[in-house]
């Protein structure tokens, strides 16, 4: 077995020289008692579902979840997915949605963190207000914005008409060309506070002396940011961006409640599409195949995530 590296190993028992894996496990049997409940829950609700999803993805399943009647069809579900034009539409939507939301949320959140880094009157209140969208439920957020975008009584449309910039209120979420950007605005609204929190915490770890030294050396504000602050934030930025990207990739509530994927698939992303295939059209096999593909994509994202975290830990250990 591998040699285990951990941070807090002070309580480790004295290890007998070389021993087999089984013996090692047996020696640590008491330790497993602490994690056993967690492992049990995870096995039932994680390992089993993943196994089952993979299995279902190779079957043609009848509607109504009459799973006794399922028929093995090999990779047909996967072929059906990859040859369907909807798949490519949904994939491009997902890319725009994920990259757009992640990038803008991160930039806005980072900007807020920088602007809030110095103390000033009302900073605490301002920070609290900026965090609120992240805490309230996505369902509530979806309805608030649906009302703001409303094509007859929405406030944005009314302002545009009032300013003379539009003849009549635009159909933000009922029109194919504007629906995705409009939903991204809502998503960013809910998400930039997370980036802000993470980056604020990161900023606190940037050593003050370094910044002052750079200042003495004649670095201007931009140079101080680019050469001192930013390199210090590389790890926390990576983790934040990855977490945001994964969360965005997995979004469901905002597109589902605001548009249900419409009009004509213009706001369907992977997750909403899978949900509709499974619980709307009851095509469990195809939906499972989609889930497996999604799973593979996320595993590769997860690989980078773990690497970023490991990078943190190693750096931490060497200091």
């Amino acid at each position: 077995m591998t040699i285990l590296t951990g941070k807090a190993e002070a309580l480790r028992r004295p290890q007998s020289a070389r021993s087999g894996a089984l013996r090692k496990i047996w020696e640590h049997r008491a330790d497993y008692a602490y994690v056993l409940p967690a492992i049990a829950v995870m096995l039932i609700v994680i390992a089993y579902p993943i196994y089952y999803t993979v299995e279902l993805s190779f079957f043609n399943t009848p509607p109504g979840l009459q799973l006794r009647d399922k028929i093995f069809i090999g990779f047909d579900n996967y072929i059906a997915i990859l040859t369907s034009p909807v798949f490519w539409k949904v994939t491009s939507n997902t890319l725009i949605w994920t990259v757009g939301s992640t990038f803008i949320s991160f930039v806005l959140g980072f900007g807020c963190a920088l602007a809030l880094h110095r103390d000033f009157v009302g900073r605490g209140i301002l920070r609290a207000v900026l965090i609120i969208p992240w805490v309230i439920s996505a369902v509530a957020a979806s309805y608030i914005w649906k009302w703001i975008y409303h094509s007859d009584f929405g406030i944005i449309g009314a302002v545009l008409v009032g300013l003379g910039w539009a003849d009549r209120p635009p159909n933000f979420i009922d029109s194919v060309s504007t629906v995705l950007p409009s939903l991204i605005v809502v998503n960013i609204w809910r998400e930039f506070p997370f980036a802000m929190i993470m980056m604020m915490a990161g900023l606190q770890t940037v050593p003050d002396q370094l910044l002052r030294a750079a200042k003495v050396d004649g670095a201007n504000a931009w140079q101080r940011f680019w050469h001192v602050t930013f390199p210090h934030l590389r790890n926390v930025s990576t983790v934040t961006i990855l977490l945001l990207a994964v969360a965005n990739f997995n979004s469901f509530i905002i597109p589902w409640i605001m548009t249900g994927g419409g009009p004509s698939n213009a706001s369907h992303i992977w997750i909403t599409h899978i949900y509709e295939l499974a619980f709307g059209r009851q095509r469990w096999g195809v939906a499972s195949a989609y889930s497996v593909l999604l799973f593979l994509i996320l595993m590769s994202l997860g690989y980078f995530y773990v690497r970023a975290l490991r990078g943190n830990e190693q750096k931490d250990g060497s200091e």
């Binding site: 285990l4 309580l11 579902p49 805490v135 009032g162």
Partner: protein
């Protein structure tokens, strides 16, 4: 630049705050972000005190001519059917969220402690497996879990929700708590053990009280997550009596879409508990959340 003077009297210089381009840029940016963040919420509140008729005007009334709390009265009045539904959804959400919170703390505390303190074969693997769980969307687990819940007869019960909420609550709870345990010096336990405490006693009597802030943060996280959860509740529950708030509000208003003041009032009341909880305890929460990513 008067760098030396600034270094010497940094405190003073800070207070006087030279007005430069960057700082002004930052302020304008913050004002913009404040408007972006707050205006939708303000508009929700303003709409919630309009009458149904006043909400349906174009151009909209910025401030209602006749503000009214009728929507709130209707939602909170157990005498009429709207109020009955809303209060029941509220109660269901409270029950499910509280049960999830208690259970996830009970399961996560020992697990996080073990991940922080012990080395055992598979420790790293298990820890990253726990983390990876958070990357997977509910949808992947939805079909098999639905089948599983149906098989063990939990569909249409709150038990199905509590059990599934544990799965997405637990990984992060364990992660958050591990960060806290890592920061508690092991010498404290060693001292206790020298004094004759068993390992469990040292954990329970010494480490547990010290990690209270972490446990609080974990509990808030679980509670907010369960309170806002939508997709499982939407899929597993179909009877009106059992719905939680997010789904209940959706069911209710998809039949009755013209009542935007009522919808905004309901959204507001759904947000109040979690926002209050979060604002009161945000110090613990933010610390725990960022602990893992930003090791000090």
């Amino acid at each position: 630049m008067s760098t030396i003077a600034e270094t010497a009297h940094r405190g003073q210089a800070r207070r006087r705050m030279r007005i430069d381009g960057w700082r002004w840029g930052g302020r304008i940016f913050l004002v913009f972000m404040l408007l972006y963040t707050a205006l939708p919420m303000v508009w929700m509140l303003i709409t919630s005190i309009k009458s149904g008729f006043a909400a349906m005007q174009f151009p909209p009334q910025w401030w209602p001519d006749h503000p009214t709390l009728a929507s709130y009265q209707k939602l909170l009045d157990p005498q009429n059917s709207v109020g009955q539904d809303f209060l029941r959804f509220f109660w269901n959400s409270l029950f499910v969220s509280t049960a999830t919170t208690i259970l996830s703390v009970i399961v996560a505390v020992p697990a996080a402690y073990a991940f922080s303190r012990f080395t055992f074969p598979g420790r790293n693997f298990l820890f990253f497996a726990v983390l990876l769980r958070n990357m997977f969307p509910a949808v992947i687990f939805l079909v098999p879990l639905f089948i599983l819940m149906r098989a063990i007869g939990l569909v249409n019960t709150h038990g199905s929700l509590v059990l599934t909420y544990l799965t997405f609550g637990l990984p992060l709870a364990i992660w958050l708590l591990k960060g806290f345990y890592d920061n508690i010096p092991v010498q404290l336990e060693q001292a206790a053990r020298i004094d004759g405490a068993t390992r469990f006693q040292a954990f329970f009597l010494i480490v547990m009280p010290l990690s209270a802030p972490g446990i609080i943060a974990t509990a808030i996280y679980s509670f907010i997550g369960a309170w806002n959860e939508y997709i499982y509740a939407y899929t597993f529950l179909s009877k009106n009596e059992q719905l939680t708030l997010p789904v209940g509000i959706q069911r209710f208003f998809s039949e009755n879409t013209t009542d935007f003041p009522g919808l905004m009032a309901a959204s507001f009341m759904m947000s109040v508990p979690v926002v209050v909880l979060f604002l009161v305890l945000q110090r613990y929460f933010v610390r725990a959340l960022t602990e893992g990513a930003v090791k000090h």
